[in-house]
């Protein structure tokens, strides 16, 4: 029954093991129902209710995108680069990281978890997560609770604060109004985002049925909207110092690169499956030397070197 989603028998067996681990082998009715759901292409993460992401266990619910390993990979890469840059210890200023289209909250929560020890009495880490979907807002709140106990415990032990806000990111006035609420109008040090990046024409052709049928289209289908928003609003209005965006196709990255101001340095990284996966950029005129972070980020991930290298785009 599990073979519908799994191409080989070992994979199916492995999945059955995980299902048994969750539901127990003696409760056959529940187990059977779970297998039946799997047969109908329900993602395993929705059936089991969670997906490991870095050190965290991220809860998954229908209506919110399941964290992908590609995201996990670059996210841990980025936190590792931040740790190695030693920028946080040296400058005695607060840091602000914002994540757009946060979904399950996997990116900002991993950011907190990995870097929380760097922040001492003098420096504070502000992490903001924005999403348009109310289900995603609820789930990211739940994920925060399950992974960090509660807000009080986190802010007591570490100099970190976390904030989740429902916001339409593409609506410029709404964003500016939201940012205006902040008393300290601090610039955002790092903006991360995993926007919906599957173009409409690819959706039927290239997307797995399990994704197509059960994961939210809101978090999947999109093309240049968010990248345009990045260039026009976040970079254009000088709200951020640096960014990391996940990408689906190289055109999206090139679009961003071509529209960046000349003071910005950018690069494209590959995932371990050799697909173009991330675009990053930083303002070289910023107060902090972000090259310390992103040079390492570049080294750890394979960098998309030559645009002429056509097999990457395939």
């Amino acid at each position: 029954m599990l073979m519908a989603e799994n191409r080989t028998i070992p994979h199916a067996r492995q999945e059955l093991r995980w299902l048994i681990q969750k539901f127990g082998s003696n409760n056959s009715a529940t187990l059977f129902r779970a297998c039946l759901e799997r047969n109908r292409h329900v993602p395993l993460q929705y059936i089991l209710g969670s997906q490991p992401f870095g050190m965290l266990d991220i809860k998954c619910k229908e209506g919110v995108l399941i964290p992908r390993w590609e995201t996990e990979e670059w996210c841990l890469n980025l936190t590792d680069s931040i740790k190695r840059s030693k920028l946080i210890n040296s400058g005695a200023s607060n840091w602000k990281i914002m994540d757009l289209c946060t979904g399950s909250g996997c990116i900002p929560l991993t950011m907190i978890n990995e870097t929380k020890n760097l922040f001492s009495n003098q420096t504070r880490l502000y992490v903001d997560a924005l999403d348009y979907s109310p289900i995603a807002i609820d789930l990211s709140k739940l994920n925060f609770k399950t992974n960090f106990d509660n807000k009080v415990a986190l802010s007591q032990n570490f100099n970190v604060s976390f904030n989740i806000q429902k916001c339409n990111i593409l609506n410029e006035p709404e964003i500016i109004q939201y940012l205006g609420k902040y008393k300290e109008k601090r610039k955002i040090n790092i903006l991360t985002c995993n926007p919906p990046y599957i173009p409409h024409h690819e959706f039927i052709k290239d997307v797995r049925s399990s994704v197509r049928m059960y994961e939210p289209k809101l978090a999947l289908i999109g093309n240049l909207e968010f990248y345009k928003n990045l260039n026009d609003l976040w970079v254009g209005k000088n709200l951020i110092d640096s960014f990391v965006y996940e990408i689906g196709t190289l055109e999206q990255a090139l679009y961003v690169q071509n529209n960046l101001p000349s003071s910005w340095i950018s690069g494209i990284t590959l995932d371990s499956n050799n697909k173009a996966r991330c675009i990053f950029g930083y303002n070289k005129e910023a107060n902090i030397d972000y090259s310390k972070i992103f040079n390492h980020f570049k080294q750890t991930a394979k960098v998309y070197a030559s645009i002429a290298n056509s097999d990457v785009t395939k």
């Binding site: 994979h11 999945e15 490991p52 390993w69 990046y197 290239d206 994704v211 499956n273």
Partner: protein, 412 residues
């Protein structure tokens, strides 16, 4: 000496635990002409250590006195000196009590020779004191022998079927459950790190069990080797007895398998020494698919070790586990190379207990388990497989190992 198992096959027999007396009791005895046979009972054999070893122990106690002098002068000891001091002092102490106990026994023996009227009393006294003396002498011997560098470590037990097809896989599974029962009986924390089940039937293709008890490696390291089984397999239709084998590898566990230690350990490798492969489906990736495949393959080029791990849903955990295994295998390899070099230097082919082939036979029709290294036999397969009689075999092999090591020490 051996009690014959009278139980029928398949019925657990409640035999008393048989402990074969270490053969070196007798061996060393023959090298010492000054001790006399007191009774037919083996337990009353006074078990003196050969002179060479006593001399070695005396060297330790001399060093102990020197060190103590230095200490009283108010010299500062560094860590190595402190370790040395602790070792010397414990050897010196044991040697002292050993010699006291020995002279007491000698006096008693003399008394028997001189005054026959006291014979009974003296014999009684000797009967009481000899076991205590033997304990002392073996503890002194243990202290003189070099301690295995990983003796205090927890361990990993790896099982793989050998020849014999499905029956070998079933046997490997039996052994896996035997070690888990053993750990369970000792209340040692243990868990299965990975297990690949035979897809077309019963048995396992491989299993790795982690036994998290410190010192478990020292206890179980002599279990490593090829285990042979002789029985009528469940798969056999004509009732013939088959012979199959399974290999057991026992590795010291140097760090726990949490992600953090694995991360730190990963950094000790040069980037070109190691390659980490993730199984990745072709296609667009990213938001287009939601894969559940988290398999990790680790290749260590200098040693040629390849480790695959896919049991966990988290790729991170798989990677961490793979690194734990790699670390254990490398450490084991290094240790083996060291030992091999030591043996070569001695220019002596020792029939080492560590890695001899086919170390043990499990004969089900006779309800018998024989360890080929020390010749120890026990007639209680169910008891051993349940884990509670395994200790008897382990004790026997350990004694044999100590004996071998003591021999080497004398040669040195």
């Amino acid at each position: 000496m051996l009690v014959r198992g009278c139980g029928l096959r398949g019925i657990p027999t409640k035999l008393p635990a048989i402990r074969l007396l270490p053969r070196w009791y007798k061996r060393f005895y023959s090298e010492n002409n000054n001790s006399t046979v007191l009774s037919d009972d083996d337990t009353l054999h006074k078990n003196e250590l050969p002179l060479v070893l006593i001399k070695k122990a005396e060297e330790y106690s001399k060093e102990f006195i020197d060190l103590e002098k230095r200490l009283t002068k108010g010299e500062n000891f560094n860590v190595d000196d402190q370790k040395r001091f602790a070792k010397c002092s414990s050897v010196a102490e044991t040697l002292k009590t050993y010699e006291e106990s020995l002279s007491e026994l000698r006096e008693l023996e003399e008394m028997i020779n001189m005054d026959p009227s006291l014979k009974d009393d003296a014999a009684k006294e000797i009967a009481i004191k000899t076991p205590r003396f033997n304990e002392l002498s073996s503890s002194l011997l243990g202290k003189l022998l070099p301690v295995h560098p990983f003796a205090d470590k927890p361990c990993l037990v790896e099982l793989r079927p050998g020849v014999g097809g499905i029956e070998a896989m079933i046997f490997a599974q039996d052994l896996a459950s035997m070690y888990m029962n053993y750990a369970h009986i000792h209340r040692w924390k243990h868990h299965i790190i990975s297990q690949q089940v035979n897809e077309s039937g019963s048995g396992i293709l491989s299993a790795v069990i982690s036994i998290d008890q410190p010192g478990a490696y020292d206890r179980l390291r002599l279990e490593a080797g090829v285990h042979r089984v002789q029985r009528i397999p469940a798969t056999e239709t004509k009732g013939r007895t088959h012979t199959s084998t399974a290999a057991v590898v026992v590795l010291p566990q140097l760090g726990d398998d949490s992600e953090k230690t694995a991360d730190a350990y990963e950094r000790t490798f040069k980037p070109d020494e190691i390659r980490i492969d993730f199984k990745r489906a072709s296609g667009k990736g990213g938001q287009h698919v939601n894969t559940t495949d988290s398999a990790v393959r680790l290749t260590h080029f200098p040693s040629g070790i390849v480790i695959s791990m896919q049991d966990e849903r988290s790729q991170h955990k798989n990677k961490a586990k793979a690194f734990t295994l790699l670390r254990a295998r490398l450490a084991e390899k290094e240790q083996q190379e060291k030992e091999a070099a030591g043996i070569a230097a001695r220019k002596e082919q020792v029939n080492s207990t560590d890695r001899s082939d086919k170390i043990r036979t499990y004969n089900y029709p006779q309800n018998r388990i024989t360890d080929h290294r020390c010749g120890f036999t026990i007639h209680d397969i169910p008891g051993v497989m349940a884990g509670d009689k395994l200790d008897d075999i382990i004790d026997a092999t350990r004694t044999y190992d100590t004996e071998q090591k003591a021999k080497n020490l004398i040669v040195d």
